[in-house]
């Protein structure tokens, strides 16, 4: 009985939805395409939070649609075409692998605006956007270097791409600054999201003596592994992962796409949208530092927050010389800071990190 009633209610709700949809033709329609499920607790989850923030902000003036777990490649191209055909005005493509499909579809639909995350190809109706996560890594590195007792910090890399290498370098530089004896052990998981592989990597690093685990993968499995091991601390990645606070999770890097998404949707609504390239960090609010828990001593916490503020205000750049590359050659002179071009294509470790970047 209950079932029948729900069934009927669902049916009438859907009918209602259709009616209102037909009535409001001038709504701005915004599409989102996700590489993972919205419940991944990391990367896709935060993009979806951004979408929900757009709905909240604009209410009835904007309609959002999304398709999740879309493989990068021809499937993405089809989903994008489908959204464009169905009247989307603006589409956010939220993974690096959607780059070529986005460019292809954008060429076919010159009146639809596209926003591609973390890529490098633009056109008249394709903008790119990304976040300076390495700024957050600097704060993490500072806490990690101050907290480690074994002087071994484990790092779970996803893929050896500039984005991830930048994070490793930034964390290393700032850990080393507070603790010259610090050593990084890096494991490449070759996945963005695979709880089993991430847990294995975390366990292996802990066995090798690491008492701090940094991760560039999206699941909470490393947090669980650290909790099980006891005296190991971790940082939330992409999402706050507050369910593991105050320990092992002592802080986090949070992707905060909401302000950017709201801005760009407003630009389309107002008719002022232009193709741009955005790379924002802590200052613009795109990169958030999650609550530093009480496990971290008060003076370390104060230093970390001061570092965060300096980066936010632009007074300090996490890649400031003197810095050398791993092979000992000079990179940045005293006081010189890295240019964005080098950072975007970063394919080398800084001096002091051992091991090779896999090719």
């Amino acid at each position: 009985m209950t079932f029948t009633r729900r069934f009927l209610m669902a049916a009438s709700a859907a009918a209602l939805g259709l009616a209102t949809g037909a009535a409001a033709q001038d709504k701005t329609k915004v599409g989102f395409i996700y590489v993972g499920p919205v419940g991944d607790g990391g990367w896709t989850y935060e993009h979806n939070q951004g979408r929900l923030a757009v709905e909240e902000e604009f209410g009835d003036a904007v309609e959002t649609v999304f398709v999740e777990s879309v493989p990068e490649g021809p499937d993405a191209e089809r989903v994008l075409t489908q959204m464009a055909l169905n009247g989307a005005d603006l589409i956010f493509t939220t993974s690096f692998g959607y780059m070529d499909p986005t460019i292809n579809v954008a060429a076919k639909f010159p009146n639809v605006k596209f926003e591609h995350a973390t890529g490098y190809k633009r056109s008249d109706n394709v903008s790119t956007y990304g976040a300076r996560f390495y700024e957050g890594r600097a704060v993490q590195g500072h806490i990690a270097g101050s907290m480690t007792e074994s002087n071994v910090i484990g790092y779970i890399g996803s893929y050896p791409i500039p984005e991830v290498i930048r994070g490793i370098n930034s964390a290393y530089i700032h850990a080393k600054k507070v603790n010259p004896d610090v050593e990084f052990k890096i494991i490449w998981a070759y996945t963005w999201f695979d709880p089993a592989k991430e847990a294995d990597a975390a366990k292996a690093l802990i066995e090798q003596g690491a008492d701090v685990i940094l991760q560039h993968t999206d699941s909470t499995a490393p947090q669980a592994a650290a909790q099980e091991a006891g005296n190991v601390i971790t940082f939330g990645q992409a999402s706050d992962m507050a369910e593991y606070a105050p320990k092992p999770r002592v802080s986090s890097i949070i992707d905060n796409w909401a302000p950017y998404y709201i801005d760009r949707v407003r630009a389309v609504v107002d008719g002022t949208w232009e193709s741009t390239d955005t790379w924002d960090g802590i200052g613009a609010g795109m990169v958030g530092i999650g609550e530093i828990s009480d496990v971290v001593p008060a003076e370390v916490k104060a230093e970390a927050l001061a570092l965060k503020d300096e980066i936010a205000s632009g007074a300090y750049h996490p890649f400031t010389g003197p810095l050398k590359k791993q092979d000992g050659s000079d990179w940045l002179a005293e006081g010189e800071s890295a240019d964005d071009g080098t950072l975007l294509g970063m394919n080398f470790y800084v001096e002091g990190i051992s091991g090779d970047i896999p090719q």
Binding site: F7, A14, V67, G73, N104, N347
Partner: protein, 360 residues
């Protein structure tokens, strides 16, 4: 009370009907699922099955059915030969990857030379790559009696690591600012598996899939080897007495399915996908197993099953976007299809009897 009674002979009429029963049951139970999620079930089913074929934008979706269905059919045809003979290649996904890597590797090696010879060479390399990858479980099985199921499956993961290594290293686009992924073959005319007629979705992979369907049909019905395959599957002892050489059969079935999976990979990487990327493979090799069984291991059945599967993918995406259904609901829906098919299969060999229980 209901009891199951074994049929003296498998019922042929029921065997042909089971896919239809499975599809209809999936629609009903799937509809209930969608209803429970707050979506009008009729709208949902209509969106998935009707919209891509006859909806407003069918002009776009119909060609996409071929693009999505072609690799499934091509791989499933190869797998069905082995499955009929009781030779289980579960690793088509790996052969698909290696085929794509070999084919793309040949194309990229020639870049930027333009010649009509390049694409045919890539096709040969793609088939050869898949063939070699399938020969590993084949030779291990015939020489040492290992399980081709385990070996072929494990080699999928090896192939995936190999793919990641290629996308990040050897085949990485030198003009890609250090980002992973190869050059886009869609922008290299000699290596591009383009649409043969614009807007039709018809590319060489679709042509190859159709040829494979016809060739498999002829092989199974008109050829001694096809007869041996069927005989080995249906009556292994009789096959041995009839002089079927099991070693040759294993090599043939695994080799053919590997080569076809490799071809599918090559046509995909040089056409719709365009580039070697870390996540190039999206599960065609595994989905093709469902397609092979849904198509009753019959070439024409596989063709229809491949198109049906493609339809649920494309319709499923429309349902997600237009109706807000979660991806997981669509995947459950696809899973149901195989589940109900296997359940309905029971009716081929058994019949349901209403037996009266006597009061104790």
């Amino acid at each position: 009370m209901l009891t199951l009674e074994r049929r003296p002979e498998p019922n042929r009429r029921v065997a042909l009907l089971t896919p239809i029963i499975a599809v209809v049951t999936t629609m009903i139970v799937g509809g209930l699922l969608f209803g429970a999620l707050g979506t009008n079930p009729i709208t949902a089913i209509e969106t998935i099955f009707w919209e891509p074929l006859f909806g407003e934008f069918a002009f776009y979706y119909r060609p996409q059915l071929m693009v999505k269905g072609a690799p499934l059919v091509l791989i499933a045809i190869g797998l069905s030969l082995g499955f009929r003979a009781g030779i289980w290649n579960i690793g088509a996904e790996g052969q698909y990857i290696i085929g794509a890597l070999c084919g793309a590797g040949v194309g990229l090696a020639f870049y930027p030379t333009e010649s009509w010879l390049i694409f045919p060479l890539m096709v040969i390399a793609g088939a050869f790559g898949g063939f070699v990858w399938a020969m590993i479980p084949a030779i291990l099985k015939t020489r040492f009696g290992t399980s081709e199921i385990l070996v072929s499956l494990m080699l999928v993961y090896v192939a995936e690591q190999f793919l990641a290594s290629m996308a990040l290293g050897l085949m990485k686009n030198p003009e890609g600012f250090g980002f992973p992924g190869s050059r886009n073959l869609q922008q290299y005319a000699s290596a591009h598996n383009a649409e043969l007629f614009t807007g039709t979705g018809m590319h060489w992979g679709v042509v190859a899939a159709l040829i494979a369907v016809i060739a498999a049909y002829v092989l199974l019905n008109r050829h001694m080897l096809g007869y041996h395959i069927r005989l080995t599957g249906e009556a292994p002892r009789a096959a041995r007495f009839a002089g079927v050489n099991p070693t040759r059969l294993v090599l043939f079935c695994l080799g053919t399915s590997g080569a076809l999976a490799g071809l599918a990979g090559l046509f995909e990487v040089s056409g719709p996908a365009g580039m070697v990327s870390i996540d190039f493979n999206v599960g065609y090799g595994f989905t093709a197993i469902i397609v092979a069984f849904l198509g009753r291991l019959h070439p024409v059945g596989i063709l229809l099953a491949g198109l049906l599967m493609a339809l649920t993918y494309i319709g499923g995406e429309i349902a997600q976007s237009n109706l807000g259904l979660p991806a997981a609901a669509i995947q459950v829906f696809q899973g149901m299809l195989l589940f109900f098919l296997l359940a309905a299969d029971l009716l081929t060999n058994y019949r349901i009897r209403l037996a009266r229980t006597e009061a104790a």
